[in-house]
Amino acid sequence: MAEQSTFARALSHPSFRVGLLGSFIFILLALISVVWTPYATDIVDIPNRFGSFSASNWLGTDYLGRDQFSLLMVGIASSLKVALLAVAIGALVGVPLGLMAAAQRGWLEAIILRFNDFIFAFPAIISAIIITTLFGPSAINAMVAIGIFNIPVFARVARGGALSLWTLEYVDAAKLSGLTSAQISLRHILPNVASLLIVQATIQLSLGVLAEAGLSYIGLGTQPPDTSLGLMLKEAQSFFFGFPMQAIIPGLAIVLFVISFNLLGDGLRDTLDPKLTRVSTL
């Protein structure tokens, strides 16, 4: 009931509608690419490289003669996958930490807070450098690095939201009913911070796509023959003078992708209780 009405209210928010549509298209393209792309992306066709827009290759072909549109679909999918799993890592570790900190207070909270501050001091790129130094560059390492940076973000939002909830009387009522802190966190706290977390997740998702692009650019992210939006952009940039569209297509895709998810997050946030959302500024 409550979610539905939130969603309905959000739908009347114009930027939310734009964001929803954009995100939907990107996610759809990514999902389709898993089972089908117009052309396989591992076919190399040197004579037909740098093809321009045509009926057979909608967005032309790249420097190895691969179909740009297929690459774009696969690139969106892998960028999304990296960002999504990074969000999952951040949320799966961060949210329990945040909830625990809010539930226990005291020394556990102090440790979690210090841990948070500590992780914040390691921007994704630095984690990525360390991980890459250890294991070599790959999309998985980029994902882990971004995910690590997401941990304190989610922990912060979860704790911030949970702290205000723990002072509420229904939590006292639950305590009187003999529920343990963990039970209360799951039954009363988590569902009530979920909307905050969803908003944060959309924002971290768009940041994740950007971070993946940055990491791929400096060679710490996705590696050929796999592709991602960031890698496509990086590779195409050297052809900018000869074939500007090669760079503009993935560049634009990144910009639109990020804007879509940001608008989605903005719309959701605006629709939710403004008092609660204040904890997650950005």
């Binding site: 009931m1 409550a2 509420l168 009387e169 229904y170 006292d172 009522a173 639950a174 305590k175 009187l176 009913s177 003999g178 529920l179 039954r187 009363h188 569902p191 009530n192």
Partner: protein, 512 residues
């Protein structure tokens, strides 16, 4: 000629009308009160007079202000004091500077420092307050600063929008006395907005009663109070004087709860290496509550009554002392309240909006206490919940709904129902009616009295409102600074108070 005249003022947000054709006038030096419950449109009316309505609101009707309008209207000719002393002052600015800012706007060229000092003295604060930040002051002190700011421009009219509702009784009485004194001293007119008939009666010559954006009754304060014409007004007056209920069919039984030497202190935050400092929240509290007895617990804010009630409910632990409840002992440091004891004790909270999880439906919330009784089967649980609902006068169909579908009064009934599901022997009532509109308080108190009569439940009734306590409690405990300073039969204590704080609390009452 009147100072301000409001004619047929209507205010609406979009299609939703909030204020319907209100008219009132204020003469120079006259003190006018506007009484109404939350959502009655009284604050919007006040804001429209000082021309501070949000731009999105649509207004109809006239407001004639017989003072120079334009930029100098606010502050110079009309001053205003707001409800929330915690948020009404800029937290980053010394309060002296906030007063000075108003002076600079309206009285350029005077000796600001001296005038700030005078204003602070006028609101009965020590001069050193000027260099403090708002968070260093108590609520009452901040409200005094708010008043000083409003007085800085020497306005002809002071608007006070619920200036005392966030304050405790004693402070409220002081602020009301102060407002009255400065109005008289400066021959300043007052528009006083309040939900509290007592406060209006104490301060105003003339009163307007609003009900859901409509003006239902107007007249001199004495005539309205003495012979109210409208049903709504009558209800308000009646609610301000709660009816007294005592046990009729049942007698008070043997001791149920016994506290002996309960003490609790809190550590103040500070650097780890610094010497630790503490506040003593409770010192050496001993008390007894008997079966079917209703014990009132009163005291000024910060006296420790909330901490004490939470320790009794097992939500907090004490550092010293023992609690004996129905044959169980708990409450010591790290002492867990035994589940068997939890089953016999429930609690009803102050805020009807915060006491239910908005994401759960009422069934989920009401079944929750039965977590303590895993031995019950589904039918027995169902029976208990339905029975509890019936007892508070609600029906089982409501269980499917979420909290937002209920009014404040209904929610408080549901909260009581939740407390009854366990069929407890003791219910801790933490300000159970304070957050409710006056007109529904009576019903809830009535319900509580019936339950005690019928099921022999004992109550610990925590309240700041002495009239309510006198009406419902058999015995009263008066707390001050973490100690019980006086206890005894309600009538004895309230008629012949021994402790100074009891006297002060009684003096602060604003009767109708």
């Amino acid at each position: 000629m009147s100072l301000v005249e409001v004619k047929d003022l209507s205010i609406s947000f979009g299609d939703h009308a909030v204020v319907h054709a209100i008219s009132l006038s204020i003469d120079p030096g006259q003190r006018v009160g506007v009484v109404g419950e939350s959502g009655s449109g009284k604050s919007l009316t006040a804001l429209s007079i000082i021309d501070l309505l949000p731009e999105s609101d649509k207004t109809k009707g006239d407001i004639v202000r017989n003072v120079p309008t334009g930029e100098s209207l606010r502050g110079k000719h009309i001053g205003m004091v707001f409800q929330e002393p915690m948020t009404a002052l800029n937290p980053l600015m010394k309060v002296g500077d906030q007063i000075r800012e108003a002076l600079e706007l309206h009285l350029p060229g005077i000796d600001f420092v001296a005038r700030v000092a005078e204003l602070i003295e006028e609101v009965e604060l020590p001069p050193s307050v000027a260099n403090r930040y708002p968070h260093e002051l108590s609520g009452g002190q901040r409200q005094r600063i708010g008043l000083a700011i409003a007085l800085a421009g020497e306005p002809e009219l002071l608007i006070a929008d619920e200036p005392t509702s966030a304050l405790d009784m004693i402070t409220q009485a002081q602020i009301i006395a102060l407002i009255k004194r400065v109005c008289k001293a400066h021959n300043m007119a007052l528009l006083f907005i309040s939900h509290d008939l007592g406060a209006v009666a104490a301060l105003c010559d003339f009163v307007h009663v609003l009900e859901r954006g409509k003006q239902v009754e107007s007249g001199t304060t004495s005539s309205v109070l003495k012979s109210p014409q409208q049903a709504y007004t009558k209800r308000l007056i009646a609610a301000a004087k709660p009816t007294r209920r005592r046990l009729t069919t049942r007698t008070i039984g043997p001791p149920l709860l016994e506290l002996d030497g309960i003490s609790k202190r809190f550590k103040l935050p500070g650097p780890i290496w610094a010497k630790k400092s503490y506040v003593q929240a409770l010192s050496d509290i001993s008390l007894t509550i008997r079966e079917a007895e209703c014990v009132g617990l009163v005291g000024p804010s910060g006296c420790g009554k909330t901490t004490l009630s939470r320790i009794i409910a097992g939500l907090q632990t004490a550092q010293r002392g023992t609690i004996q409840f129905d044959g169980h002992a708990y409450g010591r440091k790290l002492g867990e309240m035994p589940r068997a004891a939890r089953r016999e004790l429930s609690m009803v909270f102050q805020d009807p909006f915060g006491s239910f999880d908005p994401r759960l439906n009422m069934a989920q919330s009401l079944y929750e206490p039965l977590n303590l009784m895993p031995e019950l089967d589904h039918a027995e649980r169902r029976e208990r919940v339905h029975m509890a609902l019936e007892r508070v006068g609600l029906t089982p169909e409501m269980l499917k709904r979420h909290p937002h579908a209920f009014s404040g009064g209904q929610r408080q009934r549901l909260a009581i129902a939740r407390a009854l599901v366990l069929r407890p022997k003791l219910v801790v009532l933490d300000e159970p009616v304070s957050a409710l509109d006056v007109s529904i308080r009576g019903d809830v108190l009535e319900l509580l009295a019936d339950l005690r009569e019928n099921f022999g439940i004992a109550y610990l009734f925590v309240s700041h409102d002495l009239d309510v306590v006198r009406a419902v409690a058999d015995r009263v405990l008066v707390m001050d600074k973490g100690k019980i300073v006086e206890q005894g039969d309600v009538d004895t204590v309230f008629d012949a108070p021994q402790a100074e704080i009891t006297q002060r609390l009684l003096d602060a009452r604003l009767g109708v």
